[in-house]
């Protein structure tokens, strides 16, 4: 199967309230050695033929990520 994985993350300078909520909850579970948490999303795209990174990039740029506040990376899953 020709799978491309797209990882979308908020840009580093953008506030991530969700990640912050998790980071704030960890000490209540007794985890005290975590400095920060950032949450993004992983999207798996299965191509019917060859894995096409350029096409995956296009999909990510147009639909999966908001390039104003998010970065994304694409890679072929082995």
């Amino acid at each position: 199967m020709a799978r491309v994985v797209v990882d979308v993350m908020l840009k580093p300078e953008i506030l991530d309230p969700q990640g912050q909520a998790v980071a704030n909850a960890l000490p209540r579970l007794g985890v005290s050695d975590v400095a920060s948490v950032r949450i993004g999303r992983r999207v798996e795209i299965d191509f019917s033929g060859e894995a096409d990174l350029d096409r995956a990039k296009e999909i990510a740029d147009k639909l999966l990520a908001n390039p104003v506040i998010e970065d994304y990376t694409v890679r072929v899953e082995q």
Binding site: L15, N24, V68
Partner: protein, 777 residues
């Protein structure tokens, strides 16, 4: 500065390097403004100081182009014994009773909402909520007037859903009802949508908070979210001037809001107010810490010593000027007596909100009348300025004004001469097309995404004429608010356009039975450097100030948004006016929808042949020209008074204001609201040729559609005649599910009318969740 090379600029370094070139022009400062800063400081400013001056002397913060005009709101202010705080404060405060006060204000968040619609709109709501909170009030409702480009333009499909979701997302998470607003489409907003947000809050009159940083020795506390590189786009040139590599990571970034932090901030602030633990409070909005530090100290005449490295940072690599310029959301600045510091920090901790002492208030130096703001960064002084020089001594411009060249031609091109429907069939088709047009159609696609009833005090919300909330469960005391603006009228005549916006908001509040008492405004215009735009602005302000004086209700505050344009093309001048009214008992409110068959239908006010600037001229002919409808503020006052009296005496069951789309639109909305038909007889003088059309679509002001229960017509007629309000009997409310019939012209089944009215927005922006059925194949 010999030992180590610092990666930031200090006062000592600035003294030693007077000739160093600074990017003041890129920061938006003029050469003479930069020279003024050097004169004030007696040296070149440090990077941090330059950033602070460039922000505080910007149009957005200093009102440098609008100041000379806005003072009319104070000079022409009608006498009012209700005003507890006015222009210059975070928001105006109005006494409702001896014990209860309300505060309300509308602000713009236009440019951020174009770049990133969801977060731009969300943080717009968050910002205005903190303004209200800073006055000592509990925020209780929000409203949002929105303007977008043509409804069918592809970019509107990008911007509108994001903006609506952002307004809803932030407000709903805070638990604030969204009780009204507007959604208007016009091609002039293509590339520059308007996202204005209003918040209203309630406070015990004796809990009013001040922003003054009084009392040398008092502690300056920053409370709320950590500070990051949010919205520091403007001053990023300073960063790129210093750091070449990695500047990609430092480019202008949008602010992201966190409504749950804001909710905690609201609750902790209210607890601090109730426990009487603070001396002063200021919200952090545009211009962030820079604005809050300088305004609180300048207004008290004090100074401050701030240790900037104590500010909790989201990104440790931030430089001092970035910390000072950051627009990170959900932060407040508190001034606290040392003895009460622990109690304040304790309450913040209880609510899970960060609170950090970052400095102290200082007295003026010997021989000086005002204090100095000194800011250090890890022991090095990076700022040493008189705070008043940033707040009060900014540049003031009396910019050139010039009537737009095309205005005489535009005004000569009247819509009254356009071809009009003359037959019943044409008229019927026109009504259906008009109710389906984007500006007149059903807005529930938008309002369904907002929580309108949370907190349980909403009495009326969209699509009613005004939002109405209850303040006191026992007495039924309440307030009604409406926001209105018609930019086509303002384009044709900005003086009249501003007054028409005022008149409409006044009328919308009055038809619910409320007594209008105060005004707020958001003035959205193009570039002030364009004399034609500046003329429009000056005329609109003059019109609004004169109008408020005539109606006897003061402007309590507002906001100016300039530079709303795409390239050289400015938006239509868009003064948005909000009016707040008081209900002694909300159970006496007057709703808009027909609700009882047999009620007698009247239109109050005089109908004239006024179609210029109308919705019909735009929708059917793409025509904008002529002069807007005649303004009659004395008539509006009489109308409002008559409806309030009639409501109190139980003489009317429903009332609906006539505005965009005229009588036809008002009839359609009053019928569709609760599904009752109506049978209308045209007055004899309006029954021939194109006259029925004019009667139905003219946008003459000072009019309202009312339904009077049978038996009350004599008393109601007498009440109107007493006040010299023209009154025309139109017909009766028909049965539930009956048709809207205009005798001799057409009959429209309500289903057909509703289908046309409600299909438009879902067709443009996708179906709502409820009707979104996935098709399996």
């Amino acid at each position: 500065m010999t030992s180590v090379e610092l990666d930031f600029d200090t006062v000592g370094h600035a003294v030693a390097t007077p000739a160093e070139e600074q990017p003041y022009a890129e920061l938006g400062l003029q050469a003479d403004e930069y020279q003024r800063i050097r004169q004030i400081l007696g040296r070149r400013p440090t990077q941090s100081e330059l950033a602070m001056y460039s922000i505080m002397w910007s149009e957005h913060c200093s009102y440098k182009s609008s100041k000379v005009h806005l003072k009319q709101f104070v000079e022409k202010k009608p006498a009012s014994d209700r005003m507890l705080a006015g222009i210059g404060e975070n928001a105006g405060v109005i006494a409702i009773t001896d014990q209860i006060a309300v505060t309300f204000k509308v602000e713009s968040h236009n440019h951020p909402s174009y770049v990133e619609p969801y977060q731009g709109a969300a943080t717009g709501v968050g910002g205005i909520v903190r303004d209200i909170l800073a006055m000592g009030a509990r925020p209780v409702a929000v409203m949002d007037p929105l303007r977008f480009g043509a409804a069918d333009h592809p970019d509107t499909a990008r911007v509108l859903p994001g903006v609506v979701a952002g307004v809803g997302g932030y407000g709903n998470c805070l638990g604030l009802p969204n009780i009204g607003g507007e959604v208007v489409f016009d091609p002039s907003y293509q590339g520059n949508p308007l996202v204005n947000a209003l918040c209203v809050g309630v406070l015990p009159a004796d809990r009013l908070q001040r922003k003054e940083a009084d009392g040398p020795g008092n502690i300056v506390v920053l409370m709320g979210a950590k500070t990051g590189r949010d919205g520091i786009g403007g001053v990023s040139v300073l960063a790129s001037a210093t750091f070449d590599e990695g500047s990609e990571q430092r480019r202008p970034s949008v602010q992201v809001g966190d409504p749950f932090t804001e909710k905690l901030l609201i609750e902790s602030c209210l607890e601090l107010y109730n426990s009487d633990l603070i001396v002063g409070v200021q919200d952090l909005g545009g211009a962030g810490l820079t604005c809050a530090l300088t305004e609180t100290s300048a207004s008290a005449g004090t100074g401050m010593d701030i240790q900037l490295e104590k500010v909790p940072l989201r990104e440790p690599s931030m430089t001092p000027h970035e910390v000072l310029a950051s627009e990170s959301q959900e932060r407040m600045l508190l001034i606290v007596e040392p003895a009460k510091l622990n109690a304040v920090l304790g309450i913040a901790q209880l609510w899970g909100v960060l609170a950090t002492p970052i400095g102290v208030v200082t007295a003026p130096d010997a021989g000086e009348s005002a204090g100095r703001l000194r800011i250090t960064w890890h022991g090095e002084t990076v700022v040493d300025v008189p705070p008043g020089s940033l707040v009060d001594d900014g540049p003031v411009y009396a910019r050139p004004l010039k009537e737009p060249n095309d205005l005489p031609l535009l005004q000569a091109d009247r819509a009254e001469t356009l071809p009009k429907p003359t037959t019943g069939d044409d008229l019927r088709a026109t009504v259906l097309r008009m109710v389906a047009s984007p500006n007149l159609c059903d807005k529930s696609w938008v309002t369904e995404q907002y929580d309108r009833y949370v907190l349980g005090n909403t009495v009326l919300a969209q699509p009613e004429d005004a939002g109405l909330i209850r303040l006191d469960e026992n007495s039924g005391l309440g307030i009604a608010i409406s926001l209105d603006g018609n930019s086509r009228y303002a384009r044709l005549d900005p003086y009249a356009g501003a007054q028409l916006a005022l008149a409409e908001a006044y009328r919308n509040v009055a038809v619910t039975g409320a007594d209008p008492v105060a005004v707020t405004n958001c003035l959205n215009f193009g570039s002030p450097e364009d004399p034609a735009v500046m003329w429009q602005f000056a005329e609109a302000v003059r019109g609004l100030a004169d109008g408020c004086l005539e109606l006897g209700i003061p402007v309590t505050g507002g906001n100016v948004s300039f530079y709303n344009q795409t390239g050289a093309a400015a938006i239509h001048p868009t003064p948005i006016v909000g009016v707040l009214g008081v209900h002694q008992d909300v159970t006496q409110r007057v709703p808009m929808g027909f609700s009882q068959a047999g009620d007698l239908v009247y239109v109050l006010g005089e109908t004239r042949n006024e179609l210029s600037g109308s919705e019909w001229a735009w929708v059917e002919h793409e025509h904008l020209g002529g002069t807007p409808p005649q303004v009659d503020l004395a008539g509006e006052r009489r109308l409002g008074d008559a409806i309030a009296q009639a409501a109190e005496r139980g003489l009317i069951r429903t009332a609906h204001d006539l505005s965009d789309g005229g009588l036809a639109q008002a009839l359609a909305e009053s019928c569709l609201r609760k599904g009752f038909g109506a049978t209308i007889e045209l007055p004899a003088e309006w029954s021939a040729g194109s006259q029925p059309f004019v009667f139905l679509f003219s946008e003459s002001t000072g009019r309202a559609l009312v339904a009077v229960p049978p038996g009350h017509e004599m008393a109601f007629t007498a009440l109107c005649e007493e006040r010299q309000i023209p009154l025309t009997r139109l017909g009766t409310v028909a049965d539930e599910g009956a048709e809207l019939t205009v005798s001799g012209q057409f009959a429209l089944p309500l289903d057909e009318l509703r289908e046309a009215w409600s299909a438009t927005l879902p067709k443009l922006f996708g179906s709502t969740i409820a009707s979104n059925v996935v098709q399996e194949d």
